[in-house]
Amino acid sequence: MPQIELNEVCLSYFTLKQETEALRDINLSIEPGEFISIVGPSGCGKSTLLSLISGMVKPTKGKVMIDGQEVSGTSPKVGYMLQHDHLFEWRDILSNLLVGAEIRKMDRKKAERKALELMERYGLGGFERHSPAQLSGGMRQRVALIRTLVTEPDIMLLDEPFSALDYQTRLTLSDEIFNIIKDQGKTAILVTHDISEAISMADRVMVMSKRPSTISSVYTMLFDEGAYLSPWKKREAGRYHVYFNAIWKELEGHVVSTG
């Protein structure tokens, strides 16, 4: 059974002046443990799609299902990682990690143990009492990921989590985050406008069209070098450029037809 399913999902925004159709007839089915990337022209509603899955936005038409149940609000099964880390300056790192657990009223001792274990495991050991300002951008984004992992979601929604970072940190961190997510066995959906990032991290890349957006095509990433490559290795793999060029051409088509 697919873990995430979208059936004929439409979404329109209403303002006093006009009605804007953002998404039209989105059909989507994601298996547990899959890593999906979504690329598309800017403003096409990629992030909106994540908001729908997270339950923060309700579809105008159609159904969003997680584990066979219709989504009716935010659920502990889904973790959301945003473009900026949004660590709270007034809390130290450890208590930032416990924000989600605190909101969900999880057992504090257990959450704290989990947070410390994840910090140790993913290279943040010893930074519990540091303030967010003392950490580099890459470390802060890793803290943001762990903050989500502490609440033990099955599904991770990643909304351009690397776009605020410099290129070098970006490459390193995408490797790290990919490994963490695979290591934890989570299902992940990554929204990005970076084609290379999309290809190197995902099992499948979905391309969205301009507004009103639909999923215009889906590419399954298959490399001759093996099934379990790190993003770094995939960037060096033979078929990488084939996928890159195909997706580039398709996106270019969407952009031109917008103009």
Binding site: S54, M56, G73, T74, S75, P76, V78, G79, Y80, L82, Q83, H84, H86, F88, E89, W90, R91, D92, V99, G100, E102, I103, R104, R121, Y122, G123, L124, S131, Q134, L135, S136, G138, M139, T151, T172, D175, E176, N179, I180, D183, S230, W232
Partner: protein, 294 residues
């Protein structure tokens, strides 16, 4: 992490290294002679500023005294520092100057606390209910523009001569408090609240976990503005109705043509505002430190 253990650890190490604030690396012991000279120069400049401040004050008093002594101005109208000292002694021992100062100070502190608490509650209400905020918005605008002094007689009739002072103090400072705190709430990034929402946070969790702690610097700024405004309100209230306080002493001194009393009261008022401002400043530093803002 299994795929890149080496890179991982080196990245963390280099990040730790850059974390050291640059200033801490240069301790005074290892400072170069040029740096020592720079420090000396800066220190000298600082002292020059401090001394000049005192000099301005002393010069001001000296010219005042001289002008009165040489009859350039009429000391009946301007008073003079030397007779202010005598007047201070008289007032302090017989005229209950300190009691009046204490009363004004206490009224101000109570006024500040009341308008901070009430103002914050109203700002929270406006954040909580967009409906309430939109309904009440024009009233806040009008009340902000209205000169609160005009309400003096109303407070006097409703609250009596003692409590009308608080009415005036709160009336003057609460509207600004509401506006400042509310705009502070609005500046807190929407995405921080989106993060909270993604964890399924309720509105009261957003309030206590994000809005209030994120507003600490804004609370302190508001508090500092309120020291000045509430003092205006308290003195205004005392002018209008009260039987005690520095505002009362100033009007009384004016009515009996005792410029010494007026001047001494004003000097005490200046002193009081310095003390209150310093208290708020200390409180602010403590709150910022406690909330990791420094």
């Amino acid at each position: 992490m299994s795929s890149l253990p080496a890179r991982e650890s080196s990245a963390v190490l280099s990040e730790q290294r850059t974390e050291q604030p640059a200033v801490a690396l240069i301790s005074n012991k290892s400072a170069s002679p040029q740096y020592a000279a720079y420090l000396r120069l800066q220190k000298r400049k600082l002292w020059l500023i401090r001394l000049s401040r005192i000099a301005v004050f002393v010069l001001f008093l000296a010219i005042w005294e001289l002008a009165a002594a040489m009859q350039w101005v009429n000391p009946m109208l301007t008073s003079r520092p030397s007779s202010m000292v005598t007047a201070f002694q008289e007032l302090a021992f017989e005229g209950e100057l300190f009691r009046h100062t204490w009363i004004t100070g206490l009224e101000t502190i109570i006024g500040i606390v009341v308008s901070m608490v009430l103002g914050t509650l109203i700002a929270v209400l406006f954040w909580w209910s967009t409906f309430a905020s939109r309904v009440l918005e024009p009233y806040v605008v009008v009340l902000n523009a209205l000169p609160k002094v005009a309400l003096g007689p109303i407070f006097y009739i409703w609250l009596g001569d003692r409590y009308s002072v608080y009415g005036m103090a709160v009336a003057i400072s609460i509207i600004v408090t509401i506006i400042m705190i509310e705009s502070g709430f609005k500046e807190i990034s929407k995405t921080k609240l989106k993060l909270m929402e993604s964890f399924g946070a309720t509105r009261s969790q957003m309030l206590t976990m994000v809005l209030l702690p994120a507003s600490v610097p804004n609370f302190i700024a508001t508090l500092k503005v309120n020291v000045g405004l509430t003092l205006v309100g308290v003195i205004m209230g005392e002018f209008l109705s009260s039987k005690a306080g520095l505002g009362y002493l100033i009007t009384y001194g004016g009515q009996v043509f005792q410029m010494n009393m007026v001047m001494v009261s004003i000097a005490m008022l200046a002193l009081l505002s310095i003390v209150l401002y310093s208290l708020v400043d200390l409180l602010g530093r403590y709150a910022l430190k406690k909330n990791h803002y420094e």
